[in-house]
Amino acid sequence: MYDSAKRVFIFFVLFLFVGCDIFEYSPYDDDLETNIRDSNSKNISKINSILTETETDSFDYALISDTHSDYDYLHDAVKWINRHENIKFTLHLGDQSDSGLKFEFENTLNELNKLNNPFIVIIGNHDHLSQGKSIYNTIYGQTNFTFTIGSSKFIGFDNIVWENANNRPDFDWLQNELNSHNGNLFLLMHIPEGCMSMELYKEEYLSIINQINNLYRFHGHTHCLDDNWPKLITCAITEKMIPVVSVRNQNVSYKIESF
């Protein structure tokens, strides 16, 4: 009997000394186990260093979205992307979590880190829940950001309304960023304008984008693939489809691949 007691006691003591990470104060805190910080800007630098001078106007990239807690599907998608060397980077169009909890961000990050090439992640409505925005800011950086590759400009725009305390998205910033570029423009924004949460701002948003040429808009959120090129809604990862976008100077096209 004492042997059993000893075993139970040793089991607990061992766990106690495994490390301080074993103590969790709340699922809502933002005390992350990962040391990864400002991932988006680091990966933007990597993209520019991977692409040689001739490739900066001729490259392919993959779109994934709404991975939530479907880590098996994400794992398979990562393996598929890694097999295709033409794909220079991956854009995650938001909703990497179910409830914006730190361990959900970390689980997704564990899978995305297995990508051979860089990845950029934008924020989704589920990622805004709880402390999600603060965790996103810590791991990935600002929710509104831009980067350029050759003559292509990418704009990551946080258009979450309800989960962001019913606040108006920063359309002034968006308009400014859209107006300051003449080449290809890629707008990465989780919620498409047809959805209910964007209803209030639909007219304002459309009045901004209607003035812009060479604008390609990529979204997630609805979980269903919807092609209204140059607007493309990427399906959830569970649909096992990945749009691969090809940029050849001013010509932009895409192909849906299955994994």
């Binding site: 009997m1 139970v8 766990f15 106690l16 104060y25 709340s26 179910d98 709880s130 402390q131």
Partner: protein, 206 residues
């Protein structure tokens, strides 16, 4: 501030022992208080509980309040939990300790940034389910100090628990990509037996 409030409540729980209470009132008085570190119930949590037996199995229910300051979480977090404990398998290490294993289930309600029980008006009905509630099953080990004399030490026990949040458990079951050992969490706590002390004091008074 909140920690001070908690300590005041804990102090007053022991003040019950200063009164000559009737048998009915005695039943209402919690028979133990607990202070716990971590375990998804805040940095520090505390509360009161009742012990009882069902089918000769020792059970406890405790109501606890926990707090996590802004430094850990970006904003203050308040946690209310209902902790259900089943104690079994008593092992005795002569002269020193009595060890009990426990199975626990905590229902955790959290007030934190962007959490809700009822959705704000601007959401369509049923858009999200409440994200304020969580469950945490855990196994525990409690050590009671053995003392022949009626000392404070006799009423104190220390415990540790190894638990996993229901959402982590869901991810582990749903997908093979999450390691259970990465998601287990541990807590440490002190349990103080109020009623035992109370009955002993009443006995002395008579």
């Amino acid at each position: 501030m909140r920690l001070t409030l908690f300590l005041i409540i804990l102090f007053f729980s022991n003040m019950f022992s200063a009164f000559n209470v009737t048998a009915f009132h005695q039943k209402l008085i919690p028979d133990h208080s607990k202070v716990q570190f971590a375990g998804n119930q805040g940095f520090l949590s505390g509360g009161f509980g009742y012990s009882f037996h069902i089918l000769r199995i020792e059970r406890e229910i405790a109501i606890m309040y926990g707090y996590l300051p802004e430094e850990f979480s970006g904003s203050d977090i308040h946690i209310f939990s209902l902790k259900n404990t089943t104690l079994f398998n008593v092992y005795e290490l002569p002269k020193y300790l009595k060890l009990k294993c426990s199975l626990n289930l905590s229902i955790i309600y959290t007030l934190a940034n962007n959490t809700f029980t009822i959705l704000p008006d601007y959401y369509p009905e049923g858009y999200y389910v409440s994200n304020s509630f969580h469950f945490q099953p855990s196994i525990g080990l409690t050590a009671n100090f053995i003392s022949k004399h009626n000392t404070v030490l006799k009423n104190i026990s220390i415990y540790t628990e190894l638990g996993i949040l229901e959402q982590n458990l869901y991810h582990i079951i749903k997908t093979g990509r999450v390691n259970i050992f990465d998601r287990l969490n541990m807590s440490l706590g002190i349990r103080y037996s109020i009623k035992e002390r109370l009955s002993n004091k009443n006995l002395k008074d008579t």
